[in-house]
Symmetry: C2
Subunit: 161 residues, 2 copies
């Protein structure tokens, strides 16, 4: 289990669970903040989403962005909150295989995962400023890195038959 | 001149000049903040710098990073401060041709320019919080975009003979 729990300690789990239990109630708005932050840093990332590419309305008013952002945010936070108990990354409403296939299909690159990491940590910091700390930042960072590693594992092309 | 001054107004020039005159005295530290912010958002961008790739010391202690970061920061801010008077992007201690060649050689991509834009605006916001405003953010953003456009113009490969 050493690899699969990635050294996610009880303390780290507690910090993630504590902050997630507060953020959960506002997941729709926080998810939107998360995605708006990604696009503020990297405007070209909007091109990865068909419903943004073809849209004329401002990002924050796009009817498809908020539900999508919320589901990604909830999936990310729940994977983090359950990481230690599950002993590995688990995702809801989909599978890692599908996540890997989608990210591969749309050409998601290392740089996108990096910007998303920064945006996630900033979003959480702004959501729970009173409990934010270097330890909490680190705990979320470790969990995020595990999620990305699990997705990237499924992004690898199949070996030729 | 419409294209070359890019609609950089007197008001925008005043906002850039006012903030730059305050930041100038602390350009070494602010330049370092600027680059540390870039690498916080996109750690893989360190790979673009030979003196960081081969280094074992922490970024903020790297003896070459601070002088390099300062010179880029000063060049960027002075190009912005002089944009309206010069009627175009001007760079000190080098030429746009050289900047274009270097950025092309090292494979600098659109995403890098985007992250750098965000990091620059954050650095300035944190440097002069008392004068920061949406208008000032916009003024620096417009000047930065012109600098990048000028560099990208010089990054274009020469047409085949």
């Amino acid at each position: 289990m050493a690899l699969s729990d990635g050294g996610f300690t009880e303390e780290q789990e507690a910090l993630v669970v504590k902050s997630w239990s507060v953020m959960k109630k506002d997941a729709a708005n926080l998810g939107l903040n998360f995605f708006l932050k990604i696009f503020e840093i990297a405007p070209s990332a909007t091109q990865l989403f068909s419903f943004l590419r073809d849209s004329e309305v401002p990002l924050e008013k796009n009817p498809k962005l908020k539900p999508h952002a919320m589901s990604v945010f909830v999936m990310t936070c729940e994977a983090a909150a359950q990481l230690r108990k599950a002993g590995k990354i688990t995702v809801r409403e989909t599978t890692l295989k599908k996540l890997g296939a989608t990210h591969r299909k749309y050409g998601v690159a290392d740089g996108h995962f990096e910007v998303t990491r920064f945006a996630l940590l900033e979003t959480i910091k702004e959501a729970v400023p009173e409990m934010w700390s270097p330890e909490m930042k680190n705990a979320w960072g470790v969990a995020y890195d595990q999620l990305v590693a699990a997705i990237k594992e499924e992004m690898k092309p199949l070996p030729a038959a």
